[in-house]
């Protein structure tokens, strides 16, 4: 069944994104890992949409894409402000709450 393959693919992609988010030091690549996870969720929504013959899954996936675009804009803006205050994008250096 196609929906089963979609769910397994979605789980594996989400796991890879999870590992990337938890293990990378570069904060930009952590955001990219979040994109991978959001895309994995979209795969499972599209699979369910085809399994149930119902367009609501695709519409929810469209909303997820829009929210991902908003998240990228705000996240990269924050990293921009961060890198202006201090060089480097490694999360391990971000230990103080304010500077």
């Amino acid at each position: 069944m196609l929906v089963n393959g979609c769910l397994v693919l979605s789980a594996v992609l989400f796991g890879i994104g999870l590992v990337g988010f938890l293990s990378r030091r570069n904060i930009i690549l952590m955001l990219v890992s979040i994109e991978i996870m959001l895309n994995a969720v979209n795969v499972s929504l599209a699979g369910f949409s085809q399994y149930l013959q119902n367009p609501k899954g695709q519409i929810l996936a469209l909303f997820i894409i829009a929210v991902a675009a908003a998240e990228v804009a705000v996240g990269l803006g924050l990293i921009m402000a961060l890198s202006r205050a201090r060089p480097g994008v490694s999360v391990e250096d971000l230990t103080q709450l304010k500077w």
């Binding site: 938890l22 990219v32 994109e35 795969v43 119902n54 999360v91």
Partner: protein, 172 residues
């Protein structure tokens, strides 16, 4: 049950997207990572085509591969991080991260088996008459019109917020 050709195409797309996701997460150079994510997104668009979500596939290519990844690439080139290539790319907890990911994938894979799936009668009535794209568009502009408008507000707030956060502080 899908035809063998569709199944072969699906398996190719699934294997290629998993491989490009692994490469994207593990490459040392951030630009290479983002290019592998581009390959991942194009393959996922192919998966969307196979499951009959044509509009979603087009939006995936235009918005994700076209806009978001180009934004990431511009941003990386703006920051110019030559030291990233020399340093170790994972943090000290990466073994725990891999263990968590493997456990998560195993649990979800177990939960996604077909005998656990609920038997749901598909809603054939709406799908049979109209094409897929018109069904999606009609639902988007009738039943989901309020969330659709709220999403436009969210995007506006994100644009304004990004400009406000990233703006260079002027001396006042």
């Amino acid at each position: 049950m899908a035809s063998p050709l569709v199944q072969i195409a699906f398996y190719y797309l699934a294997v290629a997207s998993v491989a490009s996701a692994i490469l994207a997460v593990t490459r040392r150079n951030p630009v290479h990572s983002i290019l592998w994510v581009l390959a991942l997104f194009l393959h996922v668009a192919g998966v969307f085509l196979i499951v009959g979500a044509e509009f979603l596939a087009v939006v995936q290519v235009i918005v994700y591969a076209g806009a978001i990844l180009v934004f990431y690439l511009f941003f990386l080139m703006l920051l110019d991080l030559p030291s990233e290539i020399k340093e170790f790319r994972f943090n000290e907890h990466w073994r725990w991260a891999v263990a968590i990911g493997v456990v998560f994938v195993a649990l979800t894979w177990y939960a996604a088996r077909l005998e656990h799936m609920p038997i749901v009668e598909p809603e054939v009535a709406s799908q049979a008459v109209a094409g897929n794209l018109s069904v999606v568009g009609t639902a988007l502009f009738t039943e989901f019109i309020l969330p659709f408008e709220i999403v436009s507000l969210v995007l506006l707030a994100a644009i304004v917020g990004a400009v406000a956060v990233a703006r260079k502080k002027t001396e006042s």
